[in-house]
């Protein structure tokens, strides 16, 4: 089952090519398409000299391939522009927002995966019976729900009307100060555990409940539907019948053989599922005022802060590409037919 080193090397090289592609597309969007890119860069309230300086910085008087070179060089050096809203370098902003988003998306994503595969299998094994129809219908509804609308509803019902779960922010600041909570890694869950600070830990968890539930609806629905249809097809395969004929017990056949054959393609689609989770985070964080990258990009959109918008999106695209690479490697590890 081992994967050859050549395969890994090839995939990592492809990752760099992909990131290059991402930057080229971003370049085309920000420099080639707009009529006056320096206006976007400088911000809506810029004065004449600032606009002129932006022209110089962007090397707009030089040919396109030179501009591209400077664009790429800037990105690699960490100069992603300055957000006119926060007046900070964009890259700095993004990195400080990152842990919050990762905590949220990874939690929602893992939950969606585990619950999704389980329910999908349950539905497939009970094909056409009541439980299958119920799961199918619920998963279809989940996969059709507009995430931003759901976020609004849940926040209003549970956060404002019923006041059951707090809406907004990652942690209650006064509680944090009172209990001496210090964010070290900025992954609040981890930090709270490491400092054995249970009140803060519980508070963080409470504030994550609504956003995570909202965020995982769509991927959960998709995963259930996908797992179910894959499992239904897998159960029709000849090898399932062969294993039954050779007398293997049903449970063994299901959990050892069918499961592996179903999980392989599900994992292949996990990358895309993660992509939907990240995109959903954009809207969920905005609605719940959860200070992550999604909130950052959302606010940038509302205030026409172009360096922040593009910087955030490019960064998320890079994370997405890395996630896809990881998923592809795991898939190749499980399914030996895919390794080329």
């Amino acid at each position: 089952m081992p994967i050859s080193r050549g395969y890994l090397v090839k995939r990592i090289v492809m990752l760099f090519l992909v990131v290059f592609g991402v930057l080229v597309i971003a370049f085309i969007i920000t420099r080639v398409i707009p009529a006056r890119p320096e206006l976007l860069w400088a911000g809506p309230h810029a004065k004449a000299e600032q606009i002129e300086r932006a022209r110089q910085d962007l090397h707009l008087d030089k040919p396109i391939y030179i501009q591209l070179y400077y664009y790429l060089a800037d990105f690699l050096r960490g100069n992603w522009g300055v957000s006119w809203r926060t007046r900070q370098p964009v890259l700095l902003d993004i990195i400080s927002c990152l842990p919050a988003t990762l905590e949220l998306t990874i939690t929602a994503f893992l939950l969606a995966f585990v619950i999704g595969v389980f329910l999908g299998l349950v539905a497939a094994v009970n094909y056409n019976k009541f439980i299958d129809k119920a799961i199918s219908l619920i998963s279809t509804v989940m996969a059709s729900t507009p995430v931003f609308w759901l976020a609004l509803i849940l926040q209003t019902v549970f956060g404002i009307w019923l006041q059951v779960l707090p809406a907004g922010m990652r942690v209650d600041l006064s509680l944090a100060i009172k209990t001496g909570f210090k964010p070290i890694t900025n992954f609040y869950l981890l930090d709270a555990l490491l400092q054995l600070n249970m009140p803060v830990f519980l508070d963080v968890v409470k504030r994550m409940v609504l956003p995570v539930i909202t965020l995982m609806m769509y991927p959960l629905g998709l995963t259930i539907r996908m797992t179910r249809s894959l499992a239904v097809e897998a159960l029709q395969e000849l090898y399932v019948k062969a294993l039954e004929v050779w007398g293997l017990p049903k449970k063994l056949v299901l959990y050892r053989y069918v499961l592996k054959n179903v999980i392989a393609p599900v994992i292949a689609s996990l990358g895309l599922s993660f992509g939907y989770t990240i995109t959903g985070a954009l809207m969920v964080e905005l609605v719940f005022v959860y200070p992550g990258i999604g909130y950052y990009i959302g606010m940038a959109l509302l205030s026409f802060d172009y360096p922040a918008i593009l910087g955030g999106i490019v960064f998320v695209a890079i994370i997405y590409s890395v996630a896809n690479l990881v998923v592809d490697i795991i898939h190749a590890w499980i399914d030996p037919r895919v390794r080329f």
């Binding site: 090519l17 992909v18 990131v19 592609g21 991402v22 597309i25 971003a26 969007i29 920000t30 398409i33 707009p34 976007l40 497939a124 094994v125 094909y127 056409n128 129809k133 219908l137 279809t140 509804v141 996969a143 059709s144 729900t145 507009p146 995430v147 931003f148 609308w149 759901l150 609004l152 509803i153 926040q155 209003t156 404002i160 239904v232 097809e233 159960l235 029709q236 039954e244 049903k250 056949v253 299901l254 895309l272 992509g275 939907y276 990240i278 995109t279 954009l282 809207m283 609605v287 990009i297 959109l301 509302l302 026409f304 172009y306 999106i313 998320v316 695209a317 997405y320 590409s321 896809n324």
Partner: protein
């Protein structure tokens, strides 16, 4: 015994499909929702009871924030405009955008995929690498970036979404064409002496289109949701166009006091998306012969 691979009939047996639908109530419900959506979307301007309020040109602040009632089944918004009318008119924009997005990205994707698949070799790989570059962006984010730069508007929304969607169809087309072009009937066409272009258009294209078209039909629901998301974020359609996503964002500020402004457009989105999903499932199951004979696995 397996039948030898044959050409797919391009004329689908619609009558049989309808019988298939009537036997399954869920799929029928999905079909009805889709039909209703399309019909309402088309005739919307003619069935509005308060057209000026729907278009946003008239408003009456005295009637603002009225909860749902017999007079205003969906309530009124911040400017006293009837929400039912606005939602009905909004369906038209969702329909237009969905058709525009799917249509435009289909055209681009099919052409690129067909050329890449049929010509193969270096051209094919390069074109697919190009598609992969676009797919490196998470779904929707590329459209957000592009829409932010292009500005608001129905056309720019369509373009932004189509630019992020075409790679899907290109890839699907590429894979399908690759398997079709080695099918026996294509070999037969070559043996008769048909030219490359003729083979491409008369044999490869029609038979490759079916999976792509079914996928496109399914995708209409997603297109509506994504366009709504763009409008919600403020980079989709401009006010006062009552696109559902826009309506939801307009009601965002008042959500705790006047929930209906955001609730009903979202409900419309939900129901329409459910309809397309169910209908898409119906089509997929109908076209998949293996699924028809199932009685159970283990």
């Amino acid at each position: 015994m397996d039948r030898p691979q044959g050409e797919i009939l391009v004329t689908l047996p619609l009558h049989d499909f309808f019988k298939f639908l009537t036997r399954r109530s869920l799929y029928m419900a999905g079909f009805i929702i889709v039909i209703m959506f399309v019909v309402i979307g088309c005739i919307a301007p003619y069935i509005l009871t308060r057209p000026e309020e729907a278009w946003g040109t008239a408003y009456d602040l005295r009637k603002a924030f009225q909860p749902p009632s017999l007079d205003h089944p969906f309530g009124t918004d911040a400017y006293g405009r009837d929400m039912l009318n606005r939602v009905i008119l909004g369906s038209r924009y969702s329909l237009i955008i969905a058709i525009g997005v799917v249509g435009l990205s289909l055209v681009i994707g099919v052409v690129i995929g067909l050329v890449a698949g049929y010509l193969g070799g270096a051209i094919g790989t390069t074109l697919m690498r190009l598609a992969d570059m676009f797919l490196a962006y998470p779904p929707l984010l590329l459209a957000v970036a592009l829409a932010a730069i292009l500005g608001r508007g129905v056309l720019t929304t369509i373009i932004a979404l189509a630019v992020s969607w075409w790679p899907w169809y290109a890839r699907l087309m590429y894979v399908t064409v690759n398997s079709v072009k080695v099918a026996p009937y294509v070999e037969a066409a070559k043996a008769i002496g048909l030219g490359r272009a003729a083979i491409m258009f008369r044999h490869v294209l029609p038979n490759s289109l079916i999976p792509v078209l079914t996928q496109a039909m399914l995708d209409m629901g997603s297109a509506i949701l994504e366009a709504a998301a763009l409008s919600f974020l403020g980079v989709g359609v401009p006010p006062p166009i009552p696109e559902w996503g826009r309506l939801i964002s307009e009601g965002w500020v008042y959500i705790s006091k006047a929930y209906w402004i955001s609730f009903f457009p979202g409900l419309a989105l939900l129901i329409t998306a459910i309809g397309f999903n169910l209908f898409g499932d119906a089509v997929k199951e109908y076209l998949n012969p293996r699924l028809r004979n199932i009685g159970g696995g283990l």
